[in-house]
Symmetry: C2
Subunit: 253 residues, 2 copies
């Protein structure tokens, strides 16, 4: 009796970016089910006695078997365990939280959500760039560039993504970046729009590739050749001009 | 010597949603310059000896005198103080952080940003609604409904805001909500689109008004008549259907 599930946002990687509420949840968990995007330093906040189980092949790996994760969460909670489902970044933004909440509710398991700093916020803080600078951006938008089939989603609103007064954050951009850019240009995006790729934002191995939207794919390839790894995020829009002008807080992480 | 500025995101209100890094910054600050959207419980994390100064008339008050805030930050840091500029939510999302970073840099003052949980994330966690549920949302977008002149910004991309497979979060919606809805309908937004207003998300006085986009303005007026107050956020899109269906975690806060 008394089992429960808490979906906890682990933030972008720096363990100092956990919220107090997330730390408290980790410290009272019997079991922690974590994604492979969660940094080891974050996992260290769990109590030592807790069982820690890697469940999520997030990123580009083979299918996530979301149903299996849901079933495991529900089974453990039914056994009376306090389950923390620890997810990279923010659970409610491209985190499949909806499906996990629905599974818990269908099973009558108490479920709660603790927000986390999204990787976009982590990247913005490292770039020192406001995502909504009032001189440059009316709208901030988040999309994923990775559909269920691994390709660029066909039903993206490319016109909205080409808006010159928006800032756009692209999750999971790596495999489809060239395709995305090839759709944005005809939709009207200025090729000289400032664009940045951030690898492993807020982690010791963080790397930043600065470019324009026209040259970003090339800059990303170069960064990977030079060793960039970890979760990657692309940001573009004129609000990023500040981050481009400033190479002071640069590629060294 | 040794003065510095740290822009710190205070999160939506619940002090438990501060990050560890934010707490550390507050505990080592000599001066805390805070906005009126910052909750008192968050301010309590500052060390007792720190000077705490209310500077920001955010929200709908008279003009923010951003230049005065910038000047104060720079002056205090030049006197050698460790200054924390504490801002509601996330500094890099509709937080005027760009202008404050630029002012510090122009003055040669070391400046850093500590992200915070945005009010949108706070609201999503309370609504138990994924903002990007893969069945309903391809794109998540944030806009402000309040231009410098207090009116609805004229240069919003209403077509993008009427996209049936986007989730939209509207900051500062109160004064212009009727105007916004009047622009969204002709742009193609389905009047039955689920819509929610969240007042004072994650605070003890939190209130949630659930409606459709067509009836939301009315629901907001009713909530205010019934005592709803504090920072207000509007969210709409089919991803919010889950939050509408579920009135379990309802209006009681």
């Amino acid at each position: 009796a008394g089992g429960s599930v808490v979906l906890v946002g682990a933030g972008p990687g720096d363990p100092e970016l956990l919220t107090l509420k997330a730390v408290r949840a980790l410290q009272s968990a019997d079991v922690v089910l974590y994604d492979d995007l969660v940094s080891a330093a974050v996992l260290d906040f769990a109590r030592r006695e807790a069982r820690k189980m890697l469940v999520g092949k997030t990123g580009y790996g083979p299918s996530c078997k979301q149903d299996d994760i849901n079933a495991m969460m529900v089974t453990l909670a039914r056994e009376g365990r306090r389950v923390v489902r620890l997810k990279g970044g923010e659970p409610m933004i491209f985190g499949r939280a909806g499906e996990e909440i629905a599974a818990c509710r269908a099973a009558g398991i108490p479920v709660e959500v603790v927000p986390g700093i999204s990787s976009a916020q982590g990247a913005a803080s490292r770039l020192m760039a406001s995502l909504t600078h009032r001189d440059h951006a009316r709208r901030l938008q988040f999309v994923t560039a990775h559909a269920r089939n691994g390709r660029l989603p066909e039903d993206l609103d490319f016109k909205a993504l080409a808006d010159p007064v928006a800032t756009t954050v692209v999750y999971m951009p790596r495999h489809t970046l060239k395709d995305l850019v090839a759709r944005l240009m005809p939709a009207g995006l200025d090729p000289s729009t400032p664009a940045v790729a951030v690898f492993a934002a807020t982690r010791p191995e963080e790397r930043i590739a600065r470019a324009t939207i026209a040259t970003l794919a090339e800059a990303v390839d170069r960064a990977v050749d030079e060793g960039a790894s970890g979760p990657c995020l692309v940001l573009y829009g004129h609000a990023l001009a500040a981050a481009l002008a400033d190479a002071a807080c640069d590629d060294t992480g």
